[in-house]
């Protein structure tokens, strides 16, 4: 069993201390701990956070293994500091049965880079017509708690109401991809000044905001939990703030790219910037950052969306939506939130580990870094920078919008239940069985 002593690590901004990881849990925390038989890791100058938890990852397996597999995607996650990811249901076949979610869950356990929690589809084949067997997925080995038709909006109000009600039976949550389909027919990018100039069909903010408003009202009406995926507009933030003030049980996530990138990047028509929801304006970015800082938005979720070269090396209109996120998430959040003083490292831990784990109802993830807790830890170097090189990413795909950008902080090591998955910024020894939660 692994046994590590992390020397002089900084936990959430406190004075440097030692962290002893043994038997999969945090054994001791304190200064000058005895080495015992532990491997010593000099963590002077490094910050420890609970292993990051992603609520929104596309692993593409089964169906598009050319773009990503559970193994490659979870390795990318570990390198990004994650110890758990939620695998979205838009695979082929869709994750709409206990069989598929168990398959994904097992693939994750076998790869061993991080925990994989499959998200179940809300409706059969994500078609928005008939509820999938949500209970069966909840009761399966994968113990699904988050349900989403992500990529498609559950736009039928009755279906959405029933789903919200139904998952209460097992404390599940419906994660809505808020996109009114009629208002976004053939839409290509944020509707505004840039879309008008580029002649690309606009994707109005109201298409997102109107669905969020409706769903908040529905969730309030039936007393259910609602989670809103990848919030992208200032207007959505206002609605969420109102709903939370009303006591509606709504949570929300924002992607790293919506915290940093704006729609004027589309100007060269490079589909690496094509994403759903689309990149918005600088005003939206500012509102999203403020909302993440004040907690109106609960979590950062990557929406890591790998796409093969042939799905991106095309005309803008023919290209797939989505961008990579796992390996750059922490750097982007550090750039957008920490460098700007909007969040400290404790805040980052809360938005990228604690709250996502709580929303997903993951007991063994999201900290705290205290004796007895599962030893899921990420060590990062806040003083280092990383220049993003698409060719050196662990993901099978290369569609990162940050190529050539220099981002602050570097993930130095990731520990999954005490076992290093990443050491010195590189994959640790081949994964062993993880499992459990």
């Amino acid at each position: 069993m692994s046994n590590w002593l992390l020397r002089n690590v900084t936990i959430l901004g406190a004075a440097p201390t030692d962290l002893h990881l043994a038997d999969g849990v945090i054994a001791e925390v304190g200064r000058g701990l005895a080495t015992g038989g532990a491997q010593v890791f000099d963590a002077a100058g490094l910050v420890a956070l609970p292993g990051l938890v992603d609520l929104h990852t596309h692993l593409r397996e089964p169906g598009r293994e050319d773009a990503e597999t559970v193994a490659s995607g979870t390795l990318a996650a570990a390198l990004g500091g994650f110890t758990a990811v939620h695998a979205m249901a838009n695979t082929d076949p869709a994750a709409d049965t206990a069989g598929v979610v168990e398959q994904v869950w097992r693939l994750g356990r076998d790869a061993g880079h991080c925990d994989v929690f499959p998200v179940g589809a809300v409706t059969v084949r994500r078609r928005g017509e008939q509820l999938a067997e949500l209970g069966a997925m909840a009761d399966s080995a994968a113990r699904v708690r988050v349900f989403s038709d992500d990529g498609h909006c559950v736009d039928d109000a009755v279906l959405m109401r029933r789903a919200l009600e139904y998952v209460k039976a097992f404390d599940g949550v419906v994660a809505q991809h808020a996109q009114e389909p009629r208002l976004t027919h053939a839409a290509q990018m944020n509707e505004g000044v840039v879309s008008a100039r580029l002649g690309l069909t606009g994707w109005p903010a109201v298409a997102e905001e109107s669905v969020i408003a409706r769903d908040c009202l529905l969730a309030g009406h039936v007393g259910s939990r609602l989670h809103v995926c990848h919030v992208s507009t200032a207007g959505s933030v206002e609605i969420l703030r109102w709903a939370k003030a009303k006591g509606i049980r709504v949570t929300a996530e924002v992607t790293p790219h919506h915290l940093l990138l704006t729609d004027d990047l589309v100007t060269g028509y490079d589909p690496v910037y094509k994403v759903n929801p689309p990149l918005r304006t600088a005003g939206d970015v500012a509102a999203l950052r403020a909302a993440l800082a004040d907690g109106t938005i609960d979590a950062v979720a990557t929406d890591h969306a790998p796409h093969s070269l042939e799905d991106k090396e095309t005309e803008w209109g023919a290209a797939a939506f989505g961008m990579l996120g796992l390996e750059t998430a922490l750097g982007v959040v550090a750039e957008a939130m920490v460098s700007t003083g909007l969040l400290d490292w404790a805040g980052v831990a809360d938005r990228m580990a604690v709250r996502p784990a709580r929303i997903g109802r993951l007991d063994g993830q999201g900290g705290p870094l205290e004796p007895g807790a599962p030893a899921n830890v990420v060590l990062l170097d806040p003083a280092a920078t990383v220049t993003v090189d698409p060719g050196s990413l662990a993901s099978r795909s290369r569609n990162t919008p940050y190529a050539g950008m220099t981002l602050p902080t570097r993930v130095v090591a990731t520990f999954l239940r005490g076992r290093p998955t990443v050491l010195d910024g590189k994959p640790a020894e081949s994964g062993g069985p993880g499992g459990g939660r």
Binding site: A196, R197, G199, L200, W316, A318
Partner: protein, 309 residues
């Protein structure tokens, strides 16, 4: 001179005027007994049309042939390569063929920009989706200048489906560069969100704009737009935004009426207007060849690609 012509907005005032002045000389060739120049002998121009447009393709083809370039018509519409991966593969094919210029028409906005990143030759945007059609704007400006003698200070009114019009986008950018004042007239549903950033006025009232218009350019309105509820009926559209004889009578005496074609007679433009002496519609077609000759000459005639020997 630039290497590609992707957007009318890429042209400086001097460059735009150089194109128009060069086109004026090219127009003399069209009047000569031998309508052919040896200028681009040995150069290859590829017409890469992913969308049917006989008139634009023919115009470019004639322009290239009058300059003695070899012309290859590469019609990709309907073939297996009409989307995605196809464009890049096609670009590599054109590279291998040694195309000096690629004239591209594509249903997707920005396709010429992508192509320009994949080929060494010059790329000319011959209309991309709902984005731009820069040579159309150049020929329109050329036509206005030859009819009215100037562009500076002209009041130009564009009427119709501004939202989906590549002609409108290119004209707004170019006319602004050349000092004309542009007013856009359309039902509010056919004006893009974000238009406030354009160097143009917007009006929903055609009749108010007519008396101060030196040029009225009518844009084609596709009947399909009615299905997408942009307007209630063809009749209502035509009544509010169509140019008929009564409206034409409200124009100042010297004003001209333009249309990039193809026209919907009886919808955005009445037959008697299209055929009136004010109409420049036939000249526009003639001028299109001269302007495209000028563009090909300026992009290809020079040492842009081969200056480093």
């Amino acid at each position: 001179m630039m290497r590609h012509l992707l957007s009318a907005g890429d042209l400086s005032r001097d460059e735009a005027l150089l194109v128009l002045d060069t086109a004026a000389e090219m127009a003399r060739v069209a009047a000569a007994p031998v309508k052919k120049l040896p200028t681009l002998r040995g150069r290859t121009v590829v017409n890469l049309f992913f969308e049917d447009s006989t008139r634009t393709r023919t115009s470019f083809e004639l322009a290239a042939k009058r300059l003695s370039a070899d012309v290859i018509n590469f019609s990709a519409k309907g073939s297996a390569v009409s989307k995605g991966e196809g464009l890049k593969d096609t670009a590599l094919t054109l590279e291998a063929m040694g195309a000096d210029a690629v004239v591209i028409r594509h249903a997707m906005s920005g396709a010429p920009h992508r192509l320009a990143g994949w080929v060494r030759g010059s790329v000319v945007n011959a209309g991309d989706g709902t984005h731009e059609h820069p040579t159309q704007a150049l020929l329109d400006a050329f036509t206005m200048r030859s009819r009215l003698g100037r562009l500076e200070g002209l009041q130009v009114t564009l009427v119709g489906d501004i939202l989906h019009s590549r002609v409108a986008r290119s004209n707004v950018l170019l006319l602004r560069t050349l000092g004309a004042e542009v007013t856009l007239v359309a039902p509010p549903t056919l004006i893009p969100v974000g238009v406030e950033d354009w160097p143009a006025q917007v009006s929903y009232d055609f009749d108010r704009v007519l008396p101060k218009s030196d040029v009225v350019m009518m844009l084609r309105v596709q009947r399909e737009r009615m299905g997408a509820v942009y307007f209630p009926s063809v009749r209502e559209y035509s009544r509010r935004y169509g140019l008929d004889a009564a409206r034409m009578a409200m124009l100042p005496p010297e004003s001209v009426v333009m249309h990039p074609g193809p026209m919907n007679r009886g919808m955005e433009i009445a037959a008697e207007v299209a055929d009136s002496p004010r109409s420049t519609i036939v000249e526009q077609v003639t001028n299109g060849v001269s302007v495209r000759m000028a563009v090909l000459y300026l992009l290809l005639g020079g040492a842009m690609g081969g200056a480093s020997e």
